[in-house]
């Protein structure tokens, strides 16, 4: 297997562990976006540009916004 593929797969595995172990909420959003960007690179390496575009757009615009606003509403209700 090509070295590029092996490298990016190892990084994705480490990123998944990082997301599961982060407990502070705001840091979790940033770490989750970084994991999404690693997945985008993996999808490009696997020759899937449509899927990579979709994941990029959702992981940087859709998902962090929904999470940040949920965190804010959670803290505002206290």
């Amino acid at each position: 297997m090509a070295p590029l593929q092996a490298t990016i797969m190892t990084l994705v595995a480490l990123g998944a562990v990082a997301v599961a172990l982060t407990t502070d909420l705001v840091r979790l959003v940033i770490v989750s976006s970084a994991y999404t960007l690693l997945l985008v690179v993996l999808f490009v390496v696997l020759q899937a540009p449509d899927v990579a575009l979709s994941m990029l757009v959702v992981g940087t615009i859709g998902y962090p916004l929904v999470l940040f606003v949920a965190i804010r509403r959670d803290r505002a209700d206290e």
């Binding site: 989750s32 999808f43 899937a48 899927v51 979709s54 994941m55 209700d77």
Partner: protein
């Protein structure tokens, strides 16, 4: 070494469930749920990969060039956009639950009685 992507998908799945079991806040639980879901995307795209294949886009590329499978890409791409909406629905449920139970910790929520 040629089974690495499949082992990666299994690894992400188990790590995601570990995050769900161990979490202390509902928002962390939702993020780990979407992490578990991302393992299925990795598995699908790895199954469709063809060695030395290009992307299945044939603009300015001659017909008959080797390309990867387009069907699994079609399945994955709609799924990614829909999964963020479903995660938003689960977060809305958690926000509503907080109004009644005053807590976002899954361990402290009791089932409704009576």
């Amino acid at each position: 070494m040629s089974y690495l992507p499949f082992v990666l998908a299994a690894w992400i799945f188990v790590v995601g469930i570990f995050g769900i079991v161990r979490s202390r806040h509902y928002i962390h639980l939702v993020v780990c749920l979407s992490l578990t879901q991302s393992s299925t995307y990795v598995l699908l795209l790895s199954i469709g990969y063809v060695k030395h294949g290009g992307a299945p886009i044939f603009k300015d590329v001659p017909q008959g060039t080797r390309a990867v499978d387009p069907v699994v890409q079609a399945l994955t791409l709609t799924d990614i956009v829909v999964s963020v909406t479903v995660a938003a629905l689960v977060l809305a449920l958690a926000i509503q639950a907080k109004k009644h139970a005053k807590t976002m910790n899954p361990d402290e929520l009791r089932p409704v009685r009576g």
